[in-house]
Chain length 201, copies 2
Amino acid sequence: MEKIRIITIGREYASGGRTVGKLISEKLGIPFYNKEILHMAAEKLNMSADDVKNADETAANSLLYSISLMNNLSSASSLPINDRIFIEEREVIKSLAEQGPCVIVGRCADSILKEIRDDVLNVFIYADSDARAKRAIDEYGESPDSVYASLRKHDKKRSTYYNLNTGQKWGAKDNYDLCLNSSKLGIEMCADLIIHTAANM
Amino acid sequence: MEKIRIITIGREYASGGRTVGKLISEKLGIPFYNKEILHMAAEKLNMSADDVKNADETAANSLLYSISLMNNLSSASSLPINDRIFIEEREVIKSLAEQGPCVIVGRCADSILKEIRDDVLNVFIYADSDARAKRAIDEYGESPDSVYASLRKHDKKRSTYYNLNTGQKWGAKDNYDLCLNSSKLGIEMCADLIIHTAANM
């Protein structure tokens, strides 16, 4: 095993996974990539922020279907926008991993890098529903009346995106090296455990 | 949150979960309970090792069904042996947790203690199939020809036992505070992460 250089973080909606990733990046002094990947992909496709804002982590088709479609089309630009963005995001993620140590949140980075690199630690952050609801209300300003439906809706969107693009099951622990319950362990502890693991593998 | 005193470890067959638990118990100098729980329960039921050897982590009925059955029978001794043992094991586990810090492997200890104690860290250890097959061959002397079938058979038995007795899903990460892939992290790292977590929560 090569020494770990890349940390990928999958996460349930409002589990604090993004915050864990940000904290790791600050503690280790390495870049943090989340929505930045979408913007880099959009730029490469000459698209504006408005063009891509609804395509973030949203799947249109299975990736294999899209690739086969692409082979039968005159150009990739005939593909649904979500698929064109995912294909470009995949290249951005590979390229960022080449550049040096970093933390990447979401966007199937675990699966994209698993086949090509041996220096990646794949983490999944989850939390109890009540703790997630509280975070969604407190930090994202969601309505208490609809917050549990919102958790389900966002998780469904993420799982569809992951499952269609990777052929694997989102959040299934077999896809990850460690899975941490942030509502039990706390954000700081999650970051510490991941840093300790990455440093000592 | 009270300081963690009890560590429970659920584990896939041949994932090394028992070894992780043993290592934690040695490093912390606290008792380790695995098959000992079965033997203590058997002793309380005046049963011999022979009587119970096939009942270890094997479910006959759902626990709720057995308890309702027990209420309609003249004595608990009319219950299937597996159920009588599980009911007794549950009491043994509660009593051991009362006595002081310890590591408990398997036997639904996470679920049994979750409702009554706030000082328990629940861990699940899993591993890639190939690593588990190697461990089953090297350490348990299993035949390479049938080892993958054996992994499935043992996991099925454990999941049935857990699911029927707890009403929860065995190995589903929501039941645990951290889930660790021992084939990626290594046994020693798993033990270290668990000890660090328990000491700092």
